[in-house]
């Protein structure tokens, strides 16, 4: 059940002195509501980046539009708060232009699975070495409470007064089905687990996906807040899940929306060559001619 260590992903520390959270936290004060799950996400990210050890200027952190997409501004990385739904293609251009960078992508469920949903399969099959973090709160928060692609059917929101008529997207099953090599789900309520999983995602050489159940305190379901989540969560590790078993991972992922599993659903034990590695090989081969 142990996950093979894959640390040769350009993540070797290149800073001389050990890094601290201060090295990654910017002076900008978050605009998030008090109690928002995203505070926990950014804290877990700082910790993961400290553990990874790459200096902030070697990190490119790309987001779309939404509450959660403000996150790059709260780090000292090179941030890019792009347009709605296009964080993944922007990030891929960055990684292709400079494969030496550590590239992180973040956004909300609307950004990733509604307006930007068409980019996810292609980012997965292209398999550039980047980490995609989705802060999934089942609601459009920045526009003040409309149905999102992961809003449960029947939920009443500001755009579904009589209840949503749509089945929600299942982000976990979606990315597993397209062949993502690393798929995990975490909670800000479980800071230690979240930090470890983000770190593992960054270390995975290839496209990695972390879905974070990050509750919206203002427009979200009162029964889906951090305390409730903490009580409800089930760690996959405790269930004896083998994260190299993709079919079992897909089976567990089907419980999205009913069970709250946390941890690594799937990690490819033999990661294939990444797109950025292949680009380098092609450049070297053709330049030698």
């Amino acid at each position: 059940m142990s996950v093979p260590s894959t640390t040769d992903c350009g993540c070797a520390p290149s800073a001389a002195a050990p890094l601290t959270i201060k090295d990654f936290r910017s002076d900008l004060k978050p605009i998030w509501c008090p109690g928002c799950g995203d505070y926990g996400v950014v804290t877990a990210l700082y910790r993961a980046l400290v553990n990874i050890g790459r200096p902030a200027h070697e990190v490119a952190f790309i987001s779309g539009i939404g509450c959660s997409s403000r996150i790059p501004g709260y780090t000292t990385a090179y941030g890019f708060n792009t347009v709605h739904g296009r964080a993944l293609p922007v990030a891929q251009g960055i990684k292709m232009a400079n494969p030496d960078l550590l590239v992180l992508v973040a956004g909300g469920d609307g950004d990733g699975f509604s307006i930007g949903g068409g980019h996810v399969p292609h980012a997965i099959r292209r398999n550039l070495d980047l980490t995609y973090i989705v802060m999934d709160n089942h609601i459009y928060g920045l526009t003040k409470g409309q149905m999102s692609p992961t809003t449960p059917r029947g939920a009443k929101t500001n755009s579904t007064t009589y209840g949503s008529l749509e089945e929600p997207v299942n982000p976990l099953l979606y990315v597993l089905a397209y062949g993502a090599g690393f798929v995990a789900q975490g909670l800000p309520a479980d800071m230690e687990g979240l930090t470890k999983m983000i770190e593992a995602a960054i270390r995975y050489p290839g496209f990695s996906f972390v879905n974070i159940q990050s509750p919206c305190v203002t427009f979200g379901d009162p029964n889906d807040q951090m305390k409730v989540q903490k009580a409800k969560m089930k760690k996959l590790a405790d269930l004896g899940h083998d994260p190299t078993n993709r079919l079992r991972a897909m089976d567990l992922a089907q419980a999205y929306g009913t069970e709250l599993y946390t941890g690594i659903f799937y990690q490819n034990p033999t990661p294939p060559e990444t797109y950025d590695q292949m680009i380098r090989a092609r450049q070297a081969e053709l330049q030698a001619k």
Binding site: H57, G73, N81, G93, R282
Partner: protein, 593 residues
């Protein structure tokens, strides 16, 4: 003898008309002529009607020209589908397939051409080569024989083309070519229509198109990333680049859609590399939001829009100049984006390099408006002399600026702020589509928005004095003026030269920089004018209207504009100038009240 000849040919897909055109232009280049080959198809992928026009001359060819000197008709139905693209006049020599069964006196044309010849093309092909597939080589033989189009060079081309197909096929096609030549020799024309020998210059000319030149220029300019999506008629830019960009240490993404293509370009630019995309109308519409992002994030990029007929799917295989408004006003918000347009195949090189230079110098997206004709027609051009081109690199922060606390969007005198990129210690900042202060922090302050708009708009002001991005021809004090741009400019240039030779007092202005409007350049041009016409290929006359928005224009400021796929030949422009000259003589200028 003729110094300039226009040949138009049409047939159905399998007739090999377009490959005959390719053979003729290659031969013309080898012989030392200048030439231009435009192809036109129905929108079918294969089959359907196809046509080409070859203009071959002893001096550089500026435009595809108007009325045909020679028309080759493989079947009348297909020929007539091209209408105004293949105009026949009373002086045209018409060669048509005898098997069509039409009598020379009864050909279905509005005019009766002077020389009409029914030639048994199919019979000659069958007799010589045993296959109808050799028909286009019979046509080549006829053209070489009657019009002196380089007998040896065409034969050499046939040998090269069929060398790999086996001796039998090669010999069959050689015999078909010889049969055409023999037929021409046995049936001499009643008028001398031979092309004059080429004027030797010693330069080794090449046959190429605007899309290929665009890709070459991008690599020359230092482009290290291309992101795009296949779309007619821009796709070849990506196809050419994907062969070579890796050798330059760059990479290329065929993205999942047009938006992802340009989004990746913005990413590559943010990462510090020169980057571009290329598209056509529908793709350009999709890209507009991300173009706006590049404007506010002040990231350089080049977006080539190879215009085709629009709106929507429009006329995907035909040229038009109707995306000028879309380019100038692409994306929402209060901003200015430089728009450039090349005037011909060879000019695409300089304009593309200039687009990268402007993008990097001013940290802005730059739009290049090419068009289907420039992009896909074949021109014989002299080798591009790259020595005059200087390459501009983006302004980066100095170690001192980084140490002093870096402000990415620092308001400077020029409006251009040093631009760092990921990997540069001390240069971290937040790029964003949201309004920001000098440091890059998001803001919703109206005051800051005003200051940043000032910065972003005023930094482009130096472009308005770039008179080197305009072509001016004719007497500075002429009372008549022509303005034209892009693919139409060649026809305007030829028309103005013809008109001046006829004594019409006219001058010409061709902007390669379409936006921002260089007000002073237009004002200087207008100073002597009493009448002016803007010649362009769009229904609304978009440049005509755009100039009026920015500059006080002469009292009689008119438009000669047609929708795409309706060429405006030089003769039509000369005709308009003649009317303007007469009007000027009859109604001399009265002083303004």
């Amino acid at each position: 003898m003729l110094n300039d000849m226009i040949i138009g040919m049409a047939g159905s897909g399998g007739d090999g008309i377009v490959s005959a055109g390719d053979a003729l232009i290659s031969a013309a280049a080898r012989e030392g002529y200048y030439a231009m080959l435009t192809k036109s198809f129905g929108s079918q992928i294969r089959g359907g009607e196809s046509s080409c026009r070859l203009r071959v001359a002893t001096t550089p060819v500026l435009n595809p020209g108007g009325t045909l000197d020679v028309a080759v008709v493989l079947n009348w139905e297909d020929f007539l589908r091209f209408g105004g693209e293949l105009p026949v006049g009373t002086d045209t020599v018409v060669l048509y397939e005898k098997k069509t069964g039409v009598e020379p006196a009864a050909i279905p044309l509005k005019v009766q051409p002077g020389i009409v010849l029914a030639v048994p093309m199919a019979d000659l092909a069958i007799k010589s080569a045993g296959t109808l597939q050799a028909k286009n080589n019979v046509v080549l033989g006829l053209l070489a024989g009657w019009f002196n189009l380089g007998r040896e060079a065409i034969l050499e081309g046939i040998r090269r083309k069929f060398a790999k197909k086996g001796a039998e096929v090669l010999q069959g096609n050689e015999r078909a070519y010889a049969a055409g030549l023999a037929y021409a020799d046995e049936h001499p024309l009643t008028r001398d229509m031979r092309l004059a020998p080429p004027v030797a210059t010693g330069a080794k000319r090449r046959v190429t198109d605007g899309n290929e030149i665009c890709a070459e220029a991008a690599l020359f300019a230092g482009c290290k990333f291309f992101g795009g999506y296949p779309i007619t008629p821009a796709t070849e830019i990506m196809q050419y680049l994907q062969k070579d960009i890796w050798k330059h240490g760059g990479s290329l993404l065929q993205a999942e859609d047009e938006i992802a293509g340009i989004a990746a370009v913005v990413g590559a630019s943010f990462a510090g590399k020169k980057a571009m995309t290329a598209t056509s109308g529908p793709g350009f519409s999709l890209k507009s939001e991300v173009i706006g992002l590049a404007s506010i994030a002040e990231l350089p990029l080049v977006c080539v829009n190879v215009q085709r007929g629009g709106p929507s799917t429009g006329l995907p295989t035909k040229t038009e100049q109707a995306d000028l408004f879309a380019a100038v006003f692409s994306a929402h918000g209060d901003t200015v984006r430089p728009v450039l347009a090349p005037i011909g195949v060879s000019d695409v090189f300089g304009v593309t390099v200039e687009a990268f230079n402007i993008a990097e110098a001013y940290q802005t997206p730059v739009i290049v408006l090419s068009d289907q004709e420039i992009a896909q027609r074949k021109d014989v051009i002299d080798p591009v002399d790259t020595t005059p081109f200087k390459l501009i690199e983006r302004l980066k922060p100095t170690p001192e600026e980084l140490a002093a606390g870096y402000n990415r969007f620092k308001i400077t005198d020029s409006g251009v702020s040093p631009l760092s990129h990921p990997g540069m210690p001390g240069g971290s900042y937040l790029a964003a589509g949201i309004e920001h202060n000098e440091h890059g922090d998001p803001t919703s302050s109206g005051e800051m928005h005003e200051r940043m708009n000032n910065k972003r708009l005023n930094k482009l002001n130096p472009l308005k004095t770039r008179d080197d991005l305009f072509i001016l021809e004719g007497d500075i004090d002429a009372p008549l003026g022509v303005i034209s741009w892009g693919g139409m400019a060649g026809a305007a240039l030829e028309a103005v030269r013809t008109a001046r030779a006829q004594g019409i007092p006219v001058k010409l202005l061709i902007p390669k920089l379409l936006y921002p409007i260089a007000e002073s350049v237009y004002r200087d041009f207008f100073a002597s004018l009493q009448r002016c016409v803007v010649v362009e290929q769009s229904h609304q006359g978009q440049l005509h209207r755009l100039i009026r928005m920015w500059v006080d224009v002469p009292r009689d400021f008119t438009s000669l504009a047609r929708s795409g796929a309706n060429p405006i030949p030089p003769a039509a422009i000369v005709q308009r100038l003649r009317v303007m000259a007469e009007s000027l003589a009859n109604h001399p200028a009265t002083p303004a009240p």
